[in-house]
Amino acid sequence: MFSPKPYLDGFDWIANLLNYQCRLTPGRGNHFMLVLESETPFPEDAVRALPDRLAPYLPRLNGSIRRHLLHLAPYWLPGKPEPIVFTTEDLLFPSDFPLAVERFANRPLPRGQALAVHALSQPKGRSALIFKFSHLLFDGRGAELLLKQLCHGKHDQTEDRPGLASPMLNEWEKQFSCGRQIQRRLLDIQKEGPTVVRHACDTAASAYRVIALTEEETDSLRQRSDRDAGPFMLTPYLLALTAEGYDKLMPRHAENELFLIPMSIDMRGQDSIPRDAVFFNQWSMLPLSILRSLLADPAESIPEIRKQIFIRTGERTALAYRAASRLMRIAPPPLLLKIVRKMGNSTTGTFMFSFISGTSLEHDKFAGRTITNLYHLPAMPPMTGLGVFFNAFNNRLNAVISYRSGLFPESDIEHFAAELEKALKGKS
């Protein structure tokens, strides 16, 4: 069975590093939010019942990171079962909605807690339940799976498989070999040309733009993707559209400049990770590097992105990242941050990207209401500073631009969002 100590994996340590990097931001940590929208306000009694449903999870949600006394491997120590903080807000006007979401995003999580919930209500119009998760304990897919459990009243924690059952300290050869593979790749990228990066101020707030496509618009987008990129190639298609828009936003300084895009992918079902793993960070990265000179023409950028996805998947790069990242767990986050800063731009990337093609909560009711839309709002760490995240829900696609304020003038972000929306809707 599972060890009483749920050990942290390498990507949990990366989340811990990003959490440290975000310590001076208004949110005080590396968080992300899941927004569940409904056409009408969630019934108060159903909302009030949610904290009770969370009761079995409270020790874990109030936990913290500790190190083993002998071998120093980090693990998650459950804490006191303090109740989850639940807040509500009534909005007067629909235009207040995005501002209210941003306000909640920039509020720190209660000390030592990995989850907070906020309900936004409008008497006539869009209402939402917003779940704010700490990345120390959850990733996006795991957060959806937790809500699925809440939705269905399932609290069998023996099936949650929290963390690693062992500290994984006995496979040094594999970890170092994977570390060399990653290092070689980063060196190759450095040789290709200078990577375009922009870092935000350490104290900058989180900000978002959400582009929600209708079912018809999503269907049309899929048809264009099938035509231009091939069947099932929506990921490279969306990345090409995003990179093309971002290319227009960034000034060019050299001919051989490139975009380095750390594409995050869910690893459930691989590397012995259960498909239903709720807790901890079960994701990895596929780093894609694209010359800016290819980005203006999707006929050039799409095949290049597609080719790189195939090569990196074939090389098992994502698995190599997970194995190599285990070596980092010995270093405390302040030291790791110094190393990352010293290693330079190839370790952070131009912008983060991900596409979650399915959801665990499709066609479900939550707290007595039909969910009309669901999207993820990850907070970007100051280094990288911007990410574009796509998810599909009930045959509709959402695009979220997450960035740190001050990274660009707001008019530039408006322009980028408008151009991306036009491209997604096939209007450019």
């Binding site: 099938d226 099932f232 992918i265």
Partner: protein, 85 residues
């Protein structure tokens, strides 16, 4: 060289999809779409890599279209055609 049959290709595809999606081979249906059988965007990349490894066929370079992936059976048929070239 023995010619590989459509049924053999379908069986091999089911095995690969089973590994990728975690579904049991008997849960997979040849007359259903790849999406129905649990394949998503990244799963399809894995599947095409498996096809390349098993039969040395690069379907993306061969220019597959939506009709070729409409069902698992259609995909097997397309692989068969590429092998016959």
């Amino acid at each position: 060289m023995t010619k590989i049959t459509q049924e053999e290709i379908e069986t091999a595809l089911k095995h690969e999809i089973s590994i990728i999606t975690g579904k049991k081979p008997e849960e997979l249906k040849t007359d259903q779409s790849l999406t129905w059988n649990g394949i998503n965007s990244m799963g399809f990349v894995e599947l095409l890599l498996s096809v390349s490894r098993l039969w040395n066929v690069n379907l993306l370079d061969a220019g597959i279209g939506t009709a070729d992936v409409s069902t698992l059976s259609a995909l097997a048929e397309r692989i068969g055609k590429e092998l016959a070239r």
